[in-house]
């Protein structure tokens, strides 16, 4: 079996929504260069709907593919719908990831949440903090995935 599914390769080689948004309404950055993965998500939000999304990623093929897939999954969706996206859904949409790469999908989920949280903070919108777990370190991702 190849290392990655065709879908992963497709999203890695032809990433969707790559780049940044100058006047983004929310920006989230998760991961850590020490561990070799950083994802940055930019959201443009109008009336609680994500009208545009871009990402930048430093990381391996599955990290880039996971971010690309995550942007597709939340574009045009409401904030609530975006917050409901789980790393498991990202993995399924990519037709699977190797076990030691699952943390990339966790980062994708967390980058969406971090960007939404930033949007809430900037606009002083009250929110339930327990829905936004802090990204601690790479090991914590690994542990969550076991």
């Amino acid at each position: 079996m190849a290392l990655y599914s065709e879908k992963v390769f497709d999203h890695f080689k032809n990433p969707r929504n790559v780049g940044s948004i100058e006047d983004a309404d929310g920006v989230g950055e998760v991961g850590n260069a020490r561990c070799g993965d950083i994802m940055k998500m930019y959201l443009k939000i109008e009336n609680d709907v994500i009208v545009d999304v871009k990402f930048e990623t430093f990381g391996c093929g599955s990290a880039i593919a996971s971010s690309s897939m995550a942007t597709e999954m939340i574009k045009g969706k409401t904030i609530e719908e975006a917050l409901a996206v789980t790393n498991k859904q990202v993995v399924e949409a990519l037709d699977g990831l190797p076990a030691h790469k699952l943390h990339c999908s966790v980062l994708a989920e967390e980058s969406i949440k971090a960007a939404v949280q930033d949007y809430y903070e900037r606009n002083h919108i009250p929110y339930d903090k327990s829905r936004f777990p802090a990204c601690e370190d790479c090991e914590s991702c690994e542990v969550r995935m076991v």
Binding site: A33, R34, C35, G36, F58, C60, A63, I64, K101
Partner: protein
Amino acid sequence: MFVYADNAATTRMSRVAVEAMLPYLDTYYGNASSLYAFGQKSQEALQRARETVAACLGAEPREIIFTSGGSESDNQAIRSAAAQGARKGKRHIISTAFEHHAVLHTLRKLKKEGYDITLLDVHENGIVTPEQVAEAIREDTCLVTIMFANNEIGTIQPIREIGRVCRERGVVFHTDAVQAVGHLPIDVKADNIDMISLSAHKFHGPKGVGALYVRRGAPLENLIEGGGQERGKRAGTENVGGIAAMAAAMKEACDHMEENGKAVSALRDRLIDGLLEIPHAALNGDRTRRLPGNVNLCFEGIEGESLLLLLDDAGICASSGSACTSGSLDPSHVLLAIGRPHEVAHGSLRLSLCEENTPEEVDHMLAEIPRVVAYLRNMSPVWKDLESGKKAFML
């Protein structure tokens, strides 16, 4: 264009090696331990191979043990010296922080068994000094094991001088020469070496075959119990075809070492110069004291696995010391040992050339690698932070 630039991982079997192997697969397939003449054909092939391998190292045929490869040789050499040391009450072993895992993991096990292990620091240029070894040797040191040339960054160690220090202090000296044999001149006597590990597939021989040189009088114990092959030091029916092919490949490599070395290091130097034109890139390991075919750089702001996948798309086979390619959280222990920060070590690229690579292939790599690095940097938030001055460049 297809460019195979991962010759430190493995090489293509040479025509000479394939031809040397074939007769022992289906014509002279007898067991070398059998008494009849048909079996003795295999025994003779083993003897010729042993003479060839010994001659390439300046050793005696009886000092060569055939094994399954570099890892087995490393395990057997280290275990043998450790066991002998323990019998004399000596349980201290000296090595370096950037050895191959076949050495490091064996030492880690020995540590659990009560041995005291000193791993010498490797300087920024990827070279340990004989002075470091001399300072580390103690009354209870039973073994010094230091690689001839590093598998990731290609740096060549001052083996002869380290060997001299060990000889003077009466300590067994083993060197993992898996990357060096066939590429660098080795003379076990002049170089003061007691044990050498080598592997056939690193010099155009087959995979799954290697050898261990053990100086007469140096300790040798078997890892694998069974029949009396290899003077009772390595049980198991000999891989006659593989061994014959290894000897043929080794002779060919040693006969053409000088010309190959010149041609390959010229390609290497052009590749290094060209890649260093990429901004915020740095060569890993000493510029001159390195294997003829080794190129290893770090590119700031990108990660190695994505680099390899895109290079694969461009027809280039290479490797990296990033965590993602090792399947662990940490990048290469070699790059960390020479002082590269984690962030930078994740963005490493190793290209390893051989005499089959061409100037056109170097041109192709010099066109594709800068393009792919720029592409990945353009989508990297780390690179953006460096470029905007939010974070300081390390390279």
